[in-house]
């Protein structure tokens, strides 16, 4: 008597606007962190290394190096670690590259799904909280070594400013006010940012500070890739402001990187 109308079996009935919940019911094997068959120690998967986020006058900058490592080998020189989550936010991924990329993709779909079903965007806190739940779901995989710890940053329309969040492997979410970095080179990047970051920096200065930190991380950490002038590979840098998520073009990054390297060569600072 109480069975749902037959036609609903074609789509199924879900109570809210969460894409993740649908996936958990319909296709649980597609969820990041779902237990897989074997318990054997797998060969070490590629790891993404350093991502960082910096608050500045107009919003936040997110940046990451382009290298993925597997053990002591370079797995990829051109991996992308900063993903657009929606128009006003982005995720930077560090840790096991496979699950992290998958998590970023699920997160994008989650936000877009909510937006389409509800007709409006989630608040920035809502987005950050959702990501924290995804990281928590990945905990079993993290215990086996597939750690995923992203940085989430975005522009908060209500508050009118850029905000950034860091996470731990249990899904703990901590808001940072000024800057943060994640990944193997994160300590070096943070040390650099600690000295260089200033309140309300204009875009050019923020860009320079960001790239200084990434260059320092690449300098000190073997896993982090520096700017590759030979192949023309530069860190990926994005800005998130009131007007949306934007790429900083490679030419501009190259120009700033060359200025920094030029200054360092001349003055032998940072050596």
């Amino acid at each position: 008597m109480n069975e749902p109308p037959r036609w609903q079996n074609l789509f199924n009935d879900y109570a809210n606007a969460s894409f993740m919940d649908i996936l958990r019911r319909e296709a649980p094997h597609l969820i990041p962190g779902a237990p897989s068959g074997g318990q054997d120690a797998a060969p070490e998967p590629p790891h993404g290394t350093t991502v960082l986020s910096v608050r500045y006058r107009d919003g936040v900058i997110m940046a990451g190096d382009r290298q993925a490592t597997a053990g002591y080998q370079v797995a990829s020189r051109r991996i992308e670690k900063i993903f657009k989550a929606d128009e006003l936010s982005g995720v930077g991924i560090a840790g096991a590259a496979g699950p992290a990329t998958e998590m970023a993709k699920l997160f994008q779909t989650e936000l877009e799904h909510y937006e389409k079903v509800e007709g409006e965007n989630l608040s920035l806190d809502g987005k950050a909280n959702r990501l924290s739940q995804m990281i928590r779901m990945n905990l079993p995989a993290a215990m086996q070594g597939l750690v995923v710890v992203p940085i989430f940053a975005g522009f908060d329309e209500k508050a009118g400013l850029g905000r950034l969040f860091k996470y731990d492997i249990t899904g703990g979410r901590y808001e940072e006010t000024n800057y943060d970095a994640q990944g193997s080179g994160s300590k070096d990047a943070r040390d650099s940012l600690k000295k260089l970051w200033k309140r309300d920096m204009p875009r050019e200065e923020a860009l320079r500070v960001t790239l200084e930190a990434l260059i320092d991380a690449a300098d000190e950490d073997v896993g982090t890739g520096g700017p590759d002038l030979v192949r023309g590979i530069f860190p990926s840098v994005k800005t998130i402001t009131r007007s949306g998520f934007q790429d900083v073009p490679d030419e501009e990054v190259r120009h700033v990187v060359e200025t920094i390297l030029g200054d360092r060569t001349r003055n032998a600072n940072g050596s």
């Binding site: 109308p5 789509f11 894409f19 296709a27 597609l30 699920l106 779909t109 007709g119």
Partner: protein
Amino acid sequence: MPLPYYVSPEQMMKDKAEYARKGIARGRSTVTLEYSEGILLVAENPSTLLHKISEIYDRIAFAGVGKYNEFENLRIAGIRHADVKGYSYSRGDVTAKALANAYSQALGNIFTQDIKPFEVEVLVAEVGDSNGARNEIYHILYDGTIEDERNYAAMGGQAEEIRRFLKDHYAEGLTLDAALQLGVRALTVTQNKTLSEKDLEVAVLDRTKVRRKFRRIPVEALGQLLGTGR
């Protein structure tokens, strides 16, 4: 024990169809037109919050007429279908055809198996890429009948008259403002009132946009496109 009534299947279907058609005829209409840069959807809808037109996926839009709660259910089911498919395969694999078929199945099942049929018609539009792929417009009726339309489509109370009007006045390669003006004229063809931008809900699937092609046209921009001097 009393015997259940016998009603012949023909009679039952006829009654249901008549019931659904009456429900749909009470509602306001929606037109869809292909224009030079995509697909335009225009609905007569004074509400700015309860939408008749919405985004399903990157290149796909949805429009519904009839009973709001019924087509709203279908809209959300469609978004779920598209998002799961796009996540498990690739974004390019989500097609209007598959979605239109799912709607057709759903509405067909409801029509034959439930006591009360849905009083809705829905439309699924997919804009083709700039490399010359063609647009697709599917129109699904309350009983699951599916039609694939070219150039223009009309749904709702005055659909017949609107279709006749568009047949005479539609030309290929319309600009956005010309298409919009034609669409609005078509909506008023059976009424002797004019529609202002406040009575309209307008959205486009704009093939020049990156990734998500769906865009609502806000009231201010509508005024300009319609030529406020009218």
